[in-house]
Protein backbone atom coordinates (compact mmCIF):
# COMPACT_ATOMS: atom_id res chain seq x y z
CA UNK A 1 0.00 0.00 0.00
CA UNK A 2 1.66 3.22 -1.15
CA UNK A 3 0.21 6.21 0.61
CA UNK A 4 0.65 9.92 0.09
CA UNK A 5 -0.16 12.21 2.95
CA UNK A 6 -0.71 15.91 2.28
CA UNK A 7 0.49 18.13 5.08
CA UNK A 8 -0.25 21.76 5.71
CA UNK A 9 1.72 24.16 7.81
CA UNK A 10 -0.15 27.10 9.30
CA UNK A 11 0.60 29.97 11.61
CA UNK A 12 -0.22 29.22 15.22
CA UNK A 13 -3.61 30.88 15.31
CA UNK A 14 -3.81 30.93 19.08
CA UNK A 15 -0.89 33.37 19.05
CA UNK A 16 -2.54 35.91 16.77
CA UNK A 17 -2.81 39.34 18.36
CA UNK A 18 -4.78 42.28 17.02
CA UNK A 19 -3.32 45.70 16.28
CA UNK A 20 -5.02 49.03 17.04
CA UNK A 21 -7.17 48.83 13.93
CA UNK A 22 -8.38 45.39 14.93
CA UNK A 23 -6.35 43.65 12.24
CA UNK A 24 -4.64 40.33 12.82
CA UNK A 25 -0.88 40.65 13.13
CA UNK A 26 0.46 37.59 11.39
CA UNK A 27 4.11 38.50 10.88
CA UNK A 28 6.69 36.41 12.70
CA UNK A 29 4.13 34.11 14.19
CA UNK A 30 5.27 30.63 15.11
CA UNK A 31 4.36 28.01 12.51
CA UNK A 32 2.93 24.61 13.21
CA UNK A 33 1.60 21.55 11.49
CA UNK A 34 -2.12 21.98 11.03
CA UNK A 35 -4.00 19.88 13.53
CA UNK A 36 -5.91 17.79 10.98
CA UNK A 37 -2.71 17.18 9.02
CA UNK A 38 -1.41 15.40 12.10
CA UNK A 39 -4.48 13.18 12.10
CA UNK A 40 -3.85 12.54 8.40
CA UNK A 41 -0.22 11.56 9.08
CA UNK A 42 -1.29 9.28 11.92
CA UNK A 43 -3.93 7.62 9.72
CA UNK A 44 -1.42 7.05 6.91
CA UNK A 45 1.20 5.61 9.25
CA UNK A 46 -1.35 3.31 10.91
CA UNK A 47 -2.40 1.96 7.51
CA UNK A 48 1.23 1.33 6.62
CA UNK A 49 1.75 -0.50 9.91
CA UNK A 50 -1.30 -2.66 9.22
CA UNK A 51 -0.99 -3.36 5.50
CA UNK A 52 2.69 -2.62 4.78
CA UNK A 53 3.99 -0.16 2.21
CA UNK A 54 5.38 3.31 2.11
CA UNK A 55 4.19 6.76 3.17
CA UNK A 56 5.26 9.88 1.30
CA UNK A 57 4.55 13.30 2.75
CA UNK A 58 3.99 16.31 0.53
CA UNK A 59 3.83 19.89 1.76
CA UNK A 60 2.99 22.82 -0.45
CA UNK A 61 4.21 25.97 1.23
CA UNK A 62 7.53 27.54 2.03
CA UNK A 63 11.00 26.37 3.03
CA UNK A 64 10.02 26.88 6.65
CA UNK A 65 7.91 23.75 6.34
CA UNK A 66 10.97 21.56 6.97
CA UNK A 67 10.00 21.57 10.66
CA UNK A 68 6.63 20.08 9.81
CA UNK A 69 8.21 17.48 7.52
CA UNK A 70 10.64 16.45 10.26
CA UNK A 71 7.72 16.04 12.60
CA UNK A 72 6.02 13.87 9.98
CA UNK A 73 9.18 11.76 9.61
CA UNK A 74 9.35 11.30 13.36
CA UNK A 75 5.76 10.07 13.31
CA UNK A 76 6.62 7.46 10.68
CA UNK A 77 6.44 9.09 7.24
CA UNK A 78 9.14 7.55 5.02
CA UNK A 79 10.02 10.30 2.59
CA UNK A 80 8.90 13.78 1.84
CA UNK A 81 8.67 16.62 -0.63
CA UNK A 82 8.30 20.29 0.08
CA UNK A 83 7.10 22.31 -2.86
CA UNK A 84 7.94 25.87 -2.12
CA UNK A 85 7.15 29.26 -3.50
CA UNK A 86 3.74 30.07 -2.21
CA UNK A 87 2.35 31.89 0.77
CA UNK A 88 -1.25 32.52 -0.14
CA UNK A 89 -4.10 30.13 0.26
CA UNK A 90 -5.96 29.43 -2.92
CA UNK A 91 -7.38 25.93 -3.11
CA UNK A 92 -7.47 25.83 -6.93
CA UNK A 93 -3.77 26.72 -7.20
CA UNK A 94 -2.88 24.37 -4.37
CA UNK A 95 -4.67 21.50 -6.05
CA UNK A 96 -2.97 22.11 -9.41
CA UNK A 97 0.49 22.16 -7.87
CA UNK A 98 -0.17 19.17 -5.62
CA UNK A 99 -1.75 17.06 -8.33
CA UNK A 100 1.24 17.69 -10.65
CA UNK A 101 3.47 16.30 -7.93
CA UNK A 102 1.15 13.47 -6.94
CA UNK A 103 1.12 12.21 -10.53
CA UNK A 104 4.88 11.54 -10.23
CA UNK A 105 4.63 9.52 -7.00
CA UNK A 106 3.28 5.98 -7.02
CA UNK A 107 0.22 5.74 -4.80
CA UNK A 108 -2.90 3.78 -3.94
CA UNK A 109 -4.22 6.24 -1.39
CA UNK A 110 -3.96 9.95 -0.74
CA UNK A 111 -4.82 11.15 2.75
CA UNK A 112 -5.38 14.71 3.93
CA UNK A 113 -7.29 16.63 6.59
CA UNK A 114 -10.93 17.33 5.90
CA UNK A 115 -10.74 21.09 6.48
CA UNK A 116 -7.78 23.26 7.32
CA UNK A 117 -8.08 25.26 10.47
CA UNK A 118 -7.49 28.74 9.00
CA UNK A 119 -10.07 28.97 6.22
CA UNK A 120 -12.10 25.86 6.85
CA UNK A 121 -12.82 25.67 3.13
CA UNK A 122 -12.71 21.87 2.73
CA UNK A 123 -12.36 22.24 -1.03
CA UNK A 124 -8.99 20.63 -1.66
CA UNK A 125 -10.25 17.04 -1.39
CA UNK A 126 -12.79 17.49 -4.19
CA UNK A 127 -10.45 19.52 -6.38
CA UNK A 128 -7.81 16.81 -6.18
CA UNK A 129 -10.22 13.91 -6.65
CA UNK A 130 -11.48 15.55 -9.81
CA UNK A 131 -8.06 16.57 -11.13
CA UNK A 132 -6.58 13.12 -10.46
CA UNK A 133 -9.74 11.25 -11.38
CA UNK A 134 -9.79 9.10 -8.24
CA UNK A 135 -12.51 8.21 -5.73
CA UNK A 136 -13.26 10.63 -2.91
CA UNK A 137 -14.17 9.68 0.64
CA UNK A 138 -14.65 12.48 3.06
CA UNK A 139 -14.50 13.18 6.78
CA UNK A 140 -13.32 9.67 7.59
CA UNK A 141 -13.35 8.32 11.12
CA UNK A 142 -12.29 4.80 10.12
CA UNK A 143 -10.40 3.37 7.12
CA UNK A 144 -10.09 -0.28 6.14
CA UNK A 145 -8.73 -1.96 3.03
CA UNK A 146 -10.66 -4.97 1.68
CA UNK A 147 -9.68 -6.83 -1.52
CA UNK A 148 -8.59 -3.78 -3.45
CA UNK A 149 -11.45 -1.67 -2.18
CA UNK A 150 -11.40 0.82 0.61
CA UNK A 151 -14.14 0.92 3.23
CA UNK A 152 -14.45 4.22 4.96
CA UNK A 153 -16.72 5.34 7.77
CA UNK A 154 -17.72 8.87 6.85
CA UNK A 155 -19.08 11.18 9.44
CA UNK A 156 -21.77 13.39 7.97
CA UNK A 157 -24.12 15.83 9.67
CA UNK A 158 -26.78 13.41 10.80
CA UNK A 159 -25.39 9.94 10.21
CA UNK A 160 -22.26 7.84 10.02
CA UNK A 161 -22.05 6.07 6.66
CA UNK A 162 -19.79 3.15 5.81
CA UNK A 163 -18.96 3.50 2.12
CA UNK A 164 -17.08 1.21 -0.18
CA UNK A 165 -15.11 2.51 -3.08
CA UNK A 166 -12.51 1.26 -5.53
CA UNK A 167 -8.85 2.31 -5.21
CA UNK A 168 -7.04 4.58 -5.93
CA UNK A 169 -8.81 7.01 -3.67
CA UNK A 170 -8.38 10.22 -1.80
CA UNK A 171 -9.57 10.25 1.79
CA UNK A 172 -10.02 13.28 3.99
CA UNK A 173 -9.97 12.57 7.70
CA UNK A 174 -11.83 14.03 10.66
CA UNK A 175 -10.16 14.84 13.93
CA UNK A 176 -11.94 11.97 15.65
CA UNK A 177 -10.22 9.33 13.53
CA UNK A 178 -7.25 9.01 15.86
CA UNK A 179 -5.00 10.54 18.46
CA UNK A 180 -1.77 11.59 16.68
CA UNK A 181 1.26 9.92 18.30
CA UNK A 182 3.94 11.84 20.14
CA UNK A 183 7.23 10.49 18.79
CA UNK A 184 10.04 9.75 21.26
CA UNK A 185 13.38 11.57 21.29
CA UNK A 186 15.14 8.84 19.29
CA UNK A 187 12.63 9.15 16.48
CA UNK A 188 12.84 12.93 16.52
CA UNK A 189 16.65 12.80 16.34
CA UNK A 190 16.58 10.30 13.48
CA UNK A 191 14.01 12.40 11.64
CA UNK A 192 16.26 15.44 11.83
CA UNK A 193 18.92 13.67 9.79
CA UNK A 194 16.65 12.46 7.02
CA UNK A 195 16.68 14.04 3.60
CA UNK A 196 13.83 16.30 2.56
CA UNK A 197 13.32 16.94 -1.15
CA UNK A 198 12.67 20.61 -1.77
CA UNK A 199 11.30 21.68 -5.13
CA UNK A 200 10.05 24.87 -6.69
CA UNK A 201 6.42 25.24 -7.60
CA UNK A 202 5.46 26.29 -11.08
CA UNK A 203 2.64 28.73 -10.43
CA UNK A 204 0.75 30.80 -12.91
CA UNK A 205 -1.26 32.97 -10.67
CA UNK A 206 -3.69 35.75 -11.31
CA UNK A 207 -5.04 37.61 -8.36
CA UNK A 208 -8.71 37.91 -9.10
CA UNK A 209 -10.06 38.66 -5.72
CA UNK A 210 -9.28 41.60 -3.58
CA UNK A 211 -9.26 41.72 0.19
CA UNK A 212 -11.20 44.72 1.41
CA UNK A 213 -10.60 44.03 5.06
CA UNK A 214 -9.47 41.26 7.36
CA UNK A 215 -10.30 42.34 10.87
CA UNK A 216 -11.59 40.84 14.02
CA UNK A 217 -15.37 41.23 14.11
CA UNK A 218 -16.33 44.41 15.88
CA UNK A 219 -16.80 43.72 19.54
CA UNK A 220 -19.86 45.55 20.78
CA UNK A 221 -20.28 43.46 23.89
CA UNK A 222 -20.85 45.34 27.12
CA UNK A 223 -18.22 43.38 29.05
CA UNK A 224 -19.66 44.08 32.47
CA UNK A 225 -17.88 41.51 34.59
CA UNK A 226 -18.57 41.08 38.31
CA UNK A 227 -15.93 39.69 40.57
CA UNK A 228 -18.10 39.67 43.67
CA UNK A 229 -21.49 38.45 44.83
CA UNK A 230 -23.37 41.53 43.59
CA UNK A 231 -23.02 39.94 40.20
CA UNK A 232 -25.55 37.28 40.98
CA UNK A 233 -28.26 39.83 41.77
CA UNK A 234 -27.54 41.85 38.65
CA UNK A 235 -27.51 38.79 36.39
CA UNK A 236 -30.70 37.48 37.98
CA UNK A 237 -32.37 40.79 37.11
CA UNK A 238 -31.33 40.45 33.48
CA UNK A 239 -32.49 36.84 33.33
CA UNK A 240 -35.89 37.80 34.69
CA UNK A 241 -36.34 40.30 31.87
CA UNK A 242 -35.31 37.90 29.11
CA UNK A 243 -37.39 35.09 30.55
Amino acid sequence: MDIIVLIKQTVDMDQIKLNDSNEAMTENLPLKTDILSKNAIEAAVQLKEKYGGNVTGIIFGTEKATSSMKEAYAMGVDDGYIIKGYEKSDPLITSKVLSDKIKTVKNDLIILGNQSSDSYSGLLQGLLASELNVSLLSNAIKIEINNGNVDVTTESENKDIIMESPLPAIISVAQEINEPRLPNVMKIMAAGKKNINIEDADIKYEDDDKTLSNKAPENKRKKIVYEDNNGIDEIAKILRVVK
Binding site: S130, I161, I162, E164, S165, N214, K215, A216, V225, E227
Partner: protein, 291 residues
Protein backbone atom coordinates in the same frame (compact mmCIF):
# COMPACT_ATOMS: atom_id res chain seq x y z
CA UNK B 1 -29.21 37.12 -12.79
CA UNK B 2 -29.79 33.52 -11.79
CA UNK B 3 -28.16 30.96 -9.58
CA UNK B 4 -28.13 27.22 -9.07
CA UNK B 5 -28.25 26.14 -5.44
CA UNK B 6 -27.22 22.73 -4.15
CA UNK B 7 -27.83 21.30 -0.72
CA UNK B 8 -28.28 17.81 0.68
CA UNK B 9 -30.07 19.28 3.67
CA UNK B 10 -33.55 20.77 3.33
CA UNK B 11 -33.11 23.30 6.14
CA UNK B 12 -29.86 24.61 4.70
CA UNK B 13 -31.41 24.80 1.23
CA UNK B 14 -34.27 26.84 2.72
CA UNK B 15 -31.80 29.22 4.37
CA UNK B 16 -29.93 29.82 1.13
CA UNK B 17 -33.07 30.29 -0.96
CA UNK B 18 -34.51 32.74 1.58
CA UNK B 19 -31.27 34.74 1.58
CA UNK B 20 -31.02 35.00 -2.21
CA UNK B 21 -34.75 35.35 -2.86
CA UNK B 22 -35.43 38.55 -4.83
CA UNK B 23 -31.69 39.13 -5.22
CA UNK B 24 -31.79 36.76 -8.20
CA UNK B 25 -33.69 33.86 -9.74
CA UNK B 26 -33.03 30.56 -8.05
CA UNK B 27 -33.13 26.92 -9.08
CA UNK B 28 -32.33 24.29 -6.50
CA UNK B 29 -30.99 20.77 -6.48
CA UNK B 30 -31.92 19.12 -3.21
CA UNK B 31 -32.94 15.77 -1.75
CA UNK B 32 -35.88 17.46 -0.03
CA UNK B 33 -39.02 19.17 -1.43
CA UNK B 34 -37.98 22.71 -0.53
CA UNK B 35 -40.77 24.37 -2.49
CA UNK B 36 -41.88 27.02 0.02
CA UNK B 37 -39.03 29.52 -0.01
CA UNK B 38 -39.20 31.19 -3.41
CA UNK B 39 -37.10 29.09 -5.77
CA UNK B 40 -38.38 28.79 -9.34
CA UNK B 41 -37.67 25.09 -9.72
CA UNK B 42 -36.66 22.44 -7.24
CA UNK B 43 -34.92 19.43 -8.75
CA UNK B 44 -35.33 16.66 -6.22
CA UNK B 45 -32.91 13.76 -6.33
CA UNK B 46 -32.32 10.62 -4.33
CA UNK B 47 -29.25 8.39 -3.97
CA UNK B 48 -26.85 11.25 -4.50
CA UNK B 49 -23.08 10.88 -4.11
CA UNK B 50 -20.22 13.21 -4.90
CA UNK B 51 -19.76 11.75 -8.39
CA UNK B 52 -23.30 11.58 -9.80
CA UNK B 53 -24.37 14.85 -8.15
CA UNK B 54 -21.38 16.73 -9.57
CA UNK B 55 -22.22 15.36 -13.00
CA UNK B 56 -25.80 16.51 -12.65
CA UNK B 57 -24.82 19.97 -11.38
CA UNK B 58 -22.44 20.47 -14.29
CA UNK B 59 -25.04 19.31 -16.77
CA UNK B 60 -27.58 21.79 -15.36
CA UNK B 61 -25.02 24.58 -15.25
CA UNK B 62 -23.98 24.07 -18.85
CA UNK B 63 -27.55 23.78 -20.03
CA UNK B 64 -29.07 26.76 -18.24
CA UNK B 65 -26.13 29.15 -18.03
CA UNK B 66 -26.41 30.17 -14.41
CA UNK B 67 -24.43 33.16 -13.21
CA UNK B 68 -23.56 31.56 -9.89
CA UNK B 69 -23.42 28.16 -8.25
CA UNK B 70 -24.17 28.27 -4.55
CA UNK B 71 -23.56 25.20 -2.43
CA UNK B 72 -24.31 24.65 1.23
CA UNK B 73 -21.22 23.80 3.19
CA UNK B 74 -22.17 20.35 4.37
CA UNK B 75 -19.80 17.43 4.21
CA UNK B 76 -21.17 16.40 0.80
CA UNK B 77 -21.54 20.02 -0.36
CA UNK B 78 -17.86 20.77 0.16
CA UNK B 79 -16.81 17.70 -1.82
CA UNK B 80 -19.03 18.71 -4.70
CA UNK B 81 -17.88 22.33 -4.58
CA UNK B 82 -14.28 21.16 -5.00
CA UNK B 83 -15.11 18.83 -7.87
CA UNK B 84 -17.14 21.48 -9.71
CA UNK B 85 -14.45 24.10 -9.13
CA UNK B 86 -11.89 21.84 -10.77
CA UNK B 87 -14.12 20.79 -13.66
CA UNK B 88 -15.11 24.36 -14.51
CA UNK B 89 -11.67 25.74 -13.63
CA UNK B 90 -13.47 28.43 -11.66
CA UNK B 91 -12.48 29.42 -8.17
CA UNK B 92 -14.79 28.86 -5.26
CA UNK B 93 -15.22 31.30 -2.38
CA UNK B 94 -15.73 29.09 0.66
CA UNK B 95 -17.83 29.35 3.80
CA UNK B 96 -19.32 32.77 3.21
CA UNK B 97 -21.98 34.27 5.45
CA UNK B 98 -22.64 37.45 3.48
CA UNK B 99 -23.05 38.09 -0.25
CA UNK B 100 -23.70 41.61 -1.52
CA UNK B 101 -23.86 42.49 -5.17
CA UNK B 102 -23.27 46.01 -6.41
CA UNK B 103 -20.81 46.50 -9.28
CA UNK B 104 -18.91 43.56 -7.95
CA UNK B 105 -19.68 40.89 -5.43
CA UNK B 106 -18.54 41.46 -1.89
CA UNK B 107 -18.47 38.45 0.41
CA UNK B 108 -17.61 37.88 4.04
CA UNK B 109 -16.19 34.82 5.73
CA UNK B 110 -14.28 33.93 8.86
CA UNK B 111 -10.53 33.48 8.69
CA UNK B 112 -7.78 32.36 11.05
CA UNK B 113 -10.14 29.87 12.60
CA UNK B 114 -12.78 32.50 13.32
CA UNK B 115 -10.48 35.16 14.67
CA UNK B 116 -11.05 37.59 11.80
CA UNK B 117 -13.63 38.29 9.16
CA UNK B 118 -12.34 38.49 5.60
CA UNK B 119 -14.26 40.89 3.44
CA UNK B 120 -13.45 40.30 -0.22
CA UNK B 121 -14.40 41.61 -3.62
CA UNK B 122 -14.51 38.74 -6.07
CA UNK B 123 -15.33 37.70 -9.58
CA UNK B 124 -15.86 34.12 -8.49
CA UNK B 125 -18.79 32.05 -9.68
CA UNK B 126 -18.93 29.32 -7.06
CA UNK B 127 -19.64 29.86 -3.37
CA UNK B 128 -20.16 27.63 -0.38
CA UNK B 129 -22.42 28.89 2.38
CA UNK B 130 -21.98 28.22 6.03
CA UNK B 131 -25.14 26.44 7.30
CA UNK B 132 -27.35 27.85 10.01
CA UNK B 133 -26.53 31.51 9.35
CA UNK B 134 -29.54 32.78 7.48
CA UNK B 135 -33.19 32.75 8.53
CA UNK B 136 -35.62 30.71 6.49
CA UNK B 137 -38.74 32.50 5.35
CA UNK B 138 -41.64 30.80 3.66
CA UNK B 139 -43.53 32.59 0.90
CA UNK B 140 -46.97 31.95 -0.56
CA UNK B 141 -45.94 30.88 -4.03
CA UNK B 142 -44.77 27.31 -4.45
CA UNK B 143 -41.79 26.27 -6.59
CA UNK B 144 -42.02 23.77 -9.47
CA UNK B 145 -41.04 20.39 -8.16
CA UNK B 146 -39.22 18.14 -10.61
CA UNK B 147 -38.07 14.67 -9.61
CA UNK B 148 -34.77 13.77 -11.24
CA UNK B 149 -32.97 10.50 -11.68
CA UNK B 150 -29.21 10.64 -11.27
CA UNK B 151 -26.64 8.43 -12.99
CA UNK B 152 -25.48 5.48 -10.96
CA UNK B 153 -22.56 6.09 -8.62
CA UNK B 154 -19.28 4.25 -8.18
CA UNK B 155 -19.75 4.45 -4.41
CA UNK B 156 -21.63 1.86 -2.46
CA UNK B 157 -23.14 2.30 0.98
CA UNK B 158 -22.44 -0.73 3.15
CA UNK B 159 -24.29 0.53 6.18
CA UNK B 160 -25.65 3.67 7.75
CA UNK B 161 -26.07 4.64 11.34
CA UNK B 162 -28.42 7.50 12.03
CA UNK B 163 -27.10 9.71 14.77
CA UNK B 164 -29.62 10.13 17.51
CA UNK B 165 -31.42 13.35 16.75
CA UNK B 166 -31.60 14.83 20.18
CA UNK B 167 -34.71 16.91 20.18
CA UNK B 168 -34.68 20.59 19.49
CA UNK B 169 -32.49 22.37 17.00
CA UNK B 170 -30.23 24.79 18.90
CA UNK B 171 -29.95 27.14 15.92
CA UNK B 172 -33.61 28.00 16.48
CA UNK B 173 -33.43 28.41 20.27
CA UNK B 174 -34.11 31.79 21.87
CA UNK B 175 -32.33 30.97 25.11
CA UNK B 176 -29.30 28.70 25.31
CA UNK B 177 -27.45 27.51 28.38
CA UNK B 178 -24.14 26.19 27.11
CA UNK B 179 -21.69 24.08 29.05
CA UNK B 180 -17.94 23.63 28.71
CA UNK B 181 -15.22 21.47 30.07
CA UNK B 182 -15.53 23.42 33.32
CA UNK B 183 -18.60 21.34 34.15
CA UNK B 184 -16.25 18.50 35.02
CA UNK B 185 -18.47 15.50 34.31
CA UNK B 186 -21.59 14.32 32.58
CA UNK B 187 -23.27 13.72 35.95
CA UNK B 188 -22.92 17.43 36.74
CA UNK B 189 -25.33 18.30 33.94
CA UNK B 190 -28.06 17.58 36.49
CA UNK B 191 -26.79 20.45 38.60
CA UNK B 192 -27.30 23.04 35.89
CA UNK B 193 -30.56 21.68 34.45
CA UNK B 194 -32.65 23.71 36.94
CA UNK B 195 -31.29 26.85 35.26
CA UNK B 196 -32.09 25.52 31.78
CA UNK B 197 -35.61 24.68 32.97
CA UNK B 198 -36.19 27.94 34.81
CA UNK B 199 -35.33 29.86 31.63
CA UNK B 200 -37.19 27.47 29.31
CA UNK B 201 -33.94 27.28 27.41
CA UNK B 202 -32.04 24.71 25.40
CA UNK B 203 -28.81 23.09 26.50
CA UNK B 204 -25.76 23.18 24.24
CA UNK B 205 -22.01 22.78 24.67
CA UNK B 206 -18.46 23.38 23.53
CA UNK B 207 -16.68 20.95 21.26
CA UNK B 208 -14.93 18.88 23.94
CA UNK B 209 -18.25 18.42 25.73
CA UNK B 210 -20.09 17.22 22.62
CA UNK B 211 -17.38 15.49 20.65
CA UNK B 212 -14.60 14.30 22.91
CA UNK B 213 -16.44 13.50 26.13
CA UNK B 214 -19.91 13.01 24.63
CA UNK B 215 -21.64 14.56 27.64
CA UNK B 216 -24.05 15.99 25.07
CA UNK B 217 -25.02 14.77 21.59
CA UNK B 218 -22.95 16.09 18.67
CA UNK B 219 -25.72 18.24 17.28
CA UNK B 220 -25.53 20.38 20.44
CA UNK B 221 -22.02 21.58 19.62
CA UNK B 222 -21.67 25.32 19.21
CA UNK B 223 -18.81 26.84 17.24
CA UNK B 224 -16.85 26.99 14.05
CA UNK B 225 -17.09 23.26 13.42
CA UNK B 226 -20.45 23.00 15.15
CA UNK B 227 -23.62 25.07 15.02
CA UNK B 228 -23.73 28.81 14.68
CA UNK B 229 -26.45 29.98 17.01
CA UNK B 230 -28.37 33.22 17.24
CA UNK B 231 -30.36 33.24 20.51
CA UNK B 232 -31.52 36.29 22.43
CA UNK B 233 -29.57 34.97 25.39
CA UNK B 234 -26.52 32.73 25.52
CA UNK B 235 -25.19 31.66 28.90
CA UNK B 236 -21.70 30.15 28.84
CA UNK B 237 -20.95 28.00 31.90
CA UNK B 238 -17.35 26.85 32.31
CA UNK B 239 -16.46 27.71 28.73
CA UNK B 240 -13.09 29.40 28.23
CA UNK B 241 -14.10 31.18 25.02
CA UNK B 242 -11.58 30.00 22.43
CA UNK B 243 -11.93 31.62 19.01
CA UNK B 244 -13.47 28.51 17.48
CA UNK B 245 -16.21 28.61 20.07
CA UNK B 246 -16.78 32.35 19.71
CA UNK B 247 -17.30 31.94 15.95
CA UNK B 248 -20.51 30.13 16.81
CA UNK B 249 -21.99 32.81 19.08
CA UNK B 250 -21.25 36.07 17.27
CA UNK B 251 -24.93 36.50 16.50
CA UNK B 252 -26.20 35.99 20.03
CA UNK B 253 -27.92 39.15 21.26
CA UNK B 254 -26.77 38.93 24.86
CA UNK B 255 -23.98 36.74 26.19
CA UNK B 256 -23.56 35.95 29.88
CA UNK B 257 -20.46 34.11 31.05
CA UNK B 258 -19.72 32.34 34.30
CA UNK B 259 -16.14 31.20 34.73
CA UNK B 260 -13.83 30.85 37.69
CA UNK B 261 -10.83 32.22 35.80
CA UNK B 262 -11.05 35.99 35.55
CA UNK B 263 -8.61 35.96 32.61
CA UNK B 264 -10.74 33.58 30.53
CA UNK B 265 -11.13 35.03 27.01
CA UNK B 266 -14.92 34.63 27.22
CA UNK B 267 -15.01 37.71 29.47
CA UNK B 268 -13.77 39.79 26.53
CA UNK B 269 -16.70 38.60 24.46
CA UNK B 270 -19.59 38.74 26.89
CA UNK B 271 -22.11 41.36 27.89
CA UNK B 272 -22.28 40.27 31.51
CA UNK B 273 -19.98 38.01 33.40
CA UNK B 274 -19.47 36.60 36.86
CA UNK B 275 -16.08 35.39 38.00
CA UNK B 276 -16.66 32.42 40.25
CA UNK B 277 -17.53 28.78 40.69
CA UNK B 278 -20.45 27.82 38.50
CA UNK B 279 -21.58 25.19 40.98
CA UNK B 280 -22.31 27.81 43.61
CA UNK B 281 -23.49 30.58 41.26
CA UNK B 282 -25.97 28.57 39.20
CA UNK B 283 -28.07 27.36 42.19
CA UNK B 284 -28.16 30.89 43.59
CA UNK B 285 -29.36 32.23 40.25
CA UNK B 286 -32.07 29.58 40.09
CA UNK B 287 -33.15 30.45 43.63
CA UNK B 288 -33.40 34.13 42.72
CA UNK B 289 -35.35 33.37 39.55
CA UNK B 290 -37.96 31.48 41.54
CA UNK B 291 -38.75 34.55 43.65
Amino acid sequence: MKCLVFSDNGDNAGEIISYFYKKMDIDVICNDSVIDYGADSVYKYSNGFSDNLSEYLLEMYNKNKYDYIIISSTNLGRQIAGIISDKLNEKCMPEIFSFEKNDKIVTKRFFYGGKTVLEEETGFKIFTISPGIFETKKIDKKSNLIEVKLNSSKYKILSEKQKSASGNDITKAKIIVSIGRGLGSKENIEKIMPLVDALHGEIAGSRPVCLDYKWLPEDKQVGLSGKKVKPDLYIALGISGQIQHLAGIRNAKTIIAINKDKNAPIFEECDYGIVGDLFSIVPELVEKLKK
